[in-house]
Amino acid sequence: MDQEALKRLERLNKLRLTEEETAAMLDYFQMQRRELESLHAVNTEQVERMVHVMPMTNIIREDKASQPFTREELQEGAPESYDGYWQVPRLVD
């Protein structure tokens, strides 16, 4: 991980770090690299991935709406809305 790669991650995640934060973050990546080595000391070639700690699959429930919130309610928490729409800056010229 270098500054350029970190800048790319910042752009992708819509975040910006200060210079001081960048230095700390690069140190953190170095530390994580070393930690990752301890994981690679374990041979997991024959080990299956464990995505869920409980062996549950295909969890479904009845396809029935249970929380019929109104548009007004859903927009109560919006930073800016107008006439039932979320307001955003102009996207196309």
Binding site: V47, R49, R61
Partner: protein, 402 residues
């Protein structure tokens, strides 16, 4: 900046008052996840635990401050500031329970903060088996491991509250069937803890004062007629790096919803949509959360997915199978809940990633979903659904200590 740390109702303390940490949604009080992003956010619905507690006659007396998205050490990254006493970090739940303002605190354990809080304050905390308490209506951070837990001044209260909140919930896709959840109810049958094993590798990683607490627990266990053995348990050391990777990846995905459009904080400084997103997130998120998002994004990238993320999922199975073997031989594993006797804000300033170092002790339970109990300042991990046995043990220690 708002100075709110704890919302608490003005009614007099009652037997039935319970506080929630600020990762649990309530309609009557704001839910902020300790983040500027959700400052004063009001949910449209209550979390399932809230419904269950209120139905059973408990009053939700207040909300307890948490670190931003509950991933930190002891709440120190909260937008509303840390809870400190005599220069040391305490955790808001401990402060409330110490003042006897509530009976118990129900929290979301994402990266071990509730367990550390309980260990430092001499409280009891039960983090149940993953999937036994519905996470419906909690703010998601690291969904594959985060679990709702109960903290109180004694084991009986933890059991009482846990018994109310466990149960299947069809609104949570990871909720276990009712018959599995029933095993955590107060009246459920259980086998007593007869043999415990101290995890030496974990014990060695802690300070002397913490090791002393483990020695005291061993003495107390022996007095109660429990066999105490030692195991190396070096495998458990793998949990920290693997959990840090999985947690970061999940947090990265979960906080991608905060964009300054639909809800939450929106920056006043923007010219276009890209600036709106970037400035809103940059201004609202703290450094630890930003770091977690960036690291999580990196481990999910094409270059690192197999090396880091996929590897961690396999390590999770290695750990799970290891614990399954160990619990065939012993009833509980003893390990520290945190490596030090106390933490200060200064220590966090010196090492902003201290929470990720300290997750060494809490990650084994977080990544595998096995239950954990904190009592006597020490953590005990038990087999799946062994909460009642662990709580019986804590009760036995309480009686022995009197």
């Amino acid at each position: 900046m708002t100075t709110m740390k704890v919302y608490i109702s003005e009614a007099q303390a009652t037997e039935n008052k319970v506080a929630l940490d600020d990762m649990i949604l309530t309609t009557k009080l704001p839910t902020t996840a300790g983040s500027r992003m959700l400052d004063d956010y009001r949910s449209l619905f209550d979390a399932e635990v809230v419904t269950r507690l209120e139905t059973a006659g408990y009053e939700i007396a207040g909300k307890v401050n948490v670190g931003e998205f509950a991933i930190d050490l002891l709440g120190e990254t909260s937008y509303y500031g840390p809870c400190e006493k005599d220069g040391l970090l305490t955790g808001a739940a401990a402060e409330l329970l110490e003042r006897d303002e509530v009976k118990a605190v129900v929290s979301l354990d994402v990266n071990g903060a509730p367990r550390r809080t309980a260990a430092l304050a001499g409280l009891i905390c039960i983090k149940p088996t993953y999937g036994t308490v519905s996470r419906y209506g909690t703010i998601p951070a690291a969904c594959s491991g985060e679990t709702i837990c109960v903290t109180a001044g004694n084991a009986e209260t933890c059991r009482e509250i846990l018994s109310v909140i466990v149960g299947h919930d069809c609104k949570d896709g990871t909720s276990l069937p009712e018959d599995a959840c029933e095993r955590l109810k107060t009246e459920a049958e259980r086998t007593p803890v007869k043999k415990i094993a101290v995890a030496k590798a974990m014990e060695a990683a802690a300070d002397e004062a913490v090791r002393e607490k483990i020695e005291q627990l061993k003495t107390r266990a022996a007095k109660c007629g429990i066999e105490v053995i030692e195991i190396e348990a070096e495998e458990l050391l793998l949990a920290k790096p693997a959990w840090n990777i999985l947690m970061s990846a999940e947090v990265c995905n979960n906080v991608s919803r905060y964009d300054g459009i639909k809800f939450g904080y929106r920056t006043p400084h923007y010219e276009d949509i890209d600036e709106l997103y970037t400035n809103s997130r940059t201004e609202a998120f703290g450094f630890l959360l930003k770091s977690t998002v960036l690291f999580g994004s990196d481990v999910l990238s094409t270059d690192n997915y197999w090396k880091a993320y996929d590897k961690s999922l396999r390590i999770r199975r290695v750990l799970s199978e290891y614990l399954n073997r160990i619990f065939g031989e012993v009833d509980a594993i003893v390990l520290p809940a945190c490596g030090k006797e106390a933490y200060s804000g200064e220590m966090v300033k010196e090492n902003p990633y201290i929470a990720y170092d300290e997750s060494l002790f809490t990650a084994p339970s977080s990544i595998t979903g096995y239950p954990a109990l904190v009592t006597e300042g020490v953590q005990l991990m038990g087999n799946m659904f062994s909460e009642n046995s662990l709580l019986d043990l804590a009760l036995m220690f309480e009686k022995e200590g009197k």
